[in-house]
């Protein structure tokens, strides 16, 4: 009987790892019976799995410094919460990873908000009265001040207690200066945004919520992928070099 499936390295490895469905595993066995080269490949994968497992048997020890820090964090956490009560919380409709994934993906997409052109970062102490899409955080007037002066890679703590990390500067195809930053509110929520300098005002072009409590549903990485995609399709080049960035900031009004 002729092979219907090509016996790729991937299939042979999956067979050696016991990760092929039965029907496919039988096909591999049949093909291997008459083919010493396939047998050799399978044994390579079996043997590497065995050796890697043996090498992994002993974990590198956790340094005392790290172990101490973690145990301090856990003690602080225990003091904050009420463990017996938390342990009794029955998860509401527990779902498998498989069923969570599409929901998480969908959520991360809706988190990427293209900000309408009308929204401006309130300049110098005049917060917008109606922040668009409830993005109250971006109405913080100190953001605009920091964007006009701070070098990329620097962090500053604003009067509201929030931390502003200026990540990078770019220019778009029209030579408009744009800056990527992340704004971490005191409650741990975080917004990554890109604002561009238009008519002497910083206007947010995109804002992505990346709050830490969404970590478990994996929004941050995928939503940042969305940001990368957006940056890639918006005509921005590579981040500006520090000297070039400084020059552009100095010429702002």
């Amino acid at each position: 009987m002729m092979d219907e499936t090509k016996m790729t390295d991937e299939i042979l490895m999956a067979y050696a790892d016991g990760q092929l469905p039965d029907a496919e595993a039988r096909k591999v066995e049949q093909a291997a019976l008459a083919d010493p080269a396939l047998q050799k490949k399978i044994s390579l994968f079996t043997e590497t799995a065995r050796q890697l497992k043996a090498a992994a048997a002993e974990l590198p020890p956790v340094p005392d410094g790290l172990a101490d820090k973690i145990s301090t964090m856990l003690e602080a956490d225990a003091a904050r919460s009420d463990p017996p009560e938390q342990d009794n919380v029955v998860p509401f409709a527990p779902r498998s990873w498989e069923s969570q994934w599409p929901a998480a993906l969908a959520a991360s997409i809706t988190l990427a908000i293209g900000v309408a052109a009308g929204a401006a970062l309130g300049p110098f102490g005049v917060p917008e009265t109606n922040p668009p899409f409830g993005l109250v955080a971006l109405a913080d007037p100190e953001i605009a001040v920091a964007l006009s002066s701070a070098a990329s890679g620097t962090s500053s703590v604003l009067g509201s207690g929030a931390t502003l990390n200026v990540i990078a500067s770019f220019v778009d195809a029209d030579d408009t200066l744009c800056r990527e930053f992340d704004y971490e509110a005191e409650n741990g929520s975080s917004i990554v945004s890109v604002a561009c300098r238009v008519n002497d005002t910083w206007r947010p072009k995109i804002a992505i919520a990346a709050s830490h409590d969404q970590t478990a549903t994996f929004a941050p990485a995928s939503s940042l992928d969305a940001l990368e995609t957006w940056l890639g399709t918006s005509g921005f080049g590579d981040p500006l070099e520090p000297a070039m960035e400084m020059q552009r900031l100095e010429t702002l009004d």
Partner: protein
């Protein structure tokens, strides 16, 4: 009364640290990553499904923390220190030939490109299924399989396994 979630976290610290080391190859950065992971896990605790394996959930948090970190590092033009690459193995109690093989295998893993190294650590060290590793790394299962088979072919030729 000990908190079972805290106990599970503590038990998985060595695994988290090894995964972190395989990503960044810097003890200092790996320790930071583990710390960030525990912080985020505590905040996100309610979203953990106790019926699932906690390390799977934690690896995913750690990987996302790593992406956040490298993304900022990349655009800030800073380089992570990869020169003090610590060993992925433990205190070696093996004897003779086995010991040499273990050292060779670990060295071969260290030399793999990051994209292959992280797959090897998750599947062959931490014993995640291909599908689980695909979810942690957010790439298709087929990509996991091609990276893993290339990695293992390379390890075999470096260490004389055939």
């Amino acid at each position: 009364m000990p908190d079972s979630f805290h106990t599970a976290l503590t038990e998985k610290l060595p695994n988290l640290r090894r995964f972190a080391l395989s990503l960044c190859r810097s003890a200092h950065v790996a320790d930071d990553l583990v710390q960030i992971t525990v912080e985020r896990a505590l905040v996100a605790r309610k979203s953990f499904d106790p019926a699932s394996r906690i390390e799977f959930w934690l690896f995913r948090i750690l990987r996302n923390a790593w992406i956040d970190m490298t993304r900022k590092q990349k655009v800030r033009g800073q380089e992570l220190d990869i020169h003090d690459a610590p060993d992925l193995g433990g205190v070696d109690s093996h004897q003779g030939e086995t010991r040499l093989m273990v050292a060779n295998v670990l060295a071969a893993v260290q030399q793999l490109p990051l994209e292959q190294r992280e797959v090897v650590v998750l599947v062959c060290f931490e014993e995640l299924s291909y599908a689980e590793a695909a979810e942690v790394l957010n790439i298709p299962k087929g990509t996991i399989m091609s990276r893993l088979s290339r990695a293992r072919t390379a390890i075999a030729s470096k260490t004389g396994i055939n």
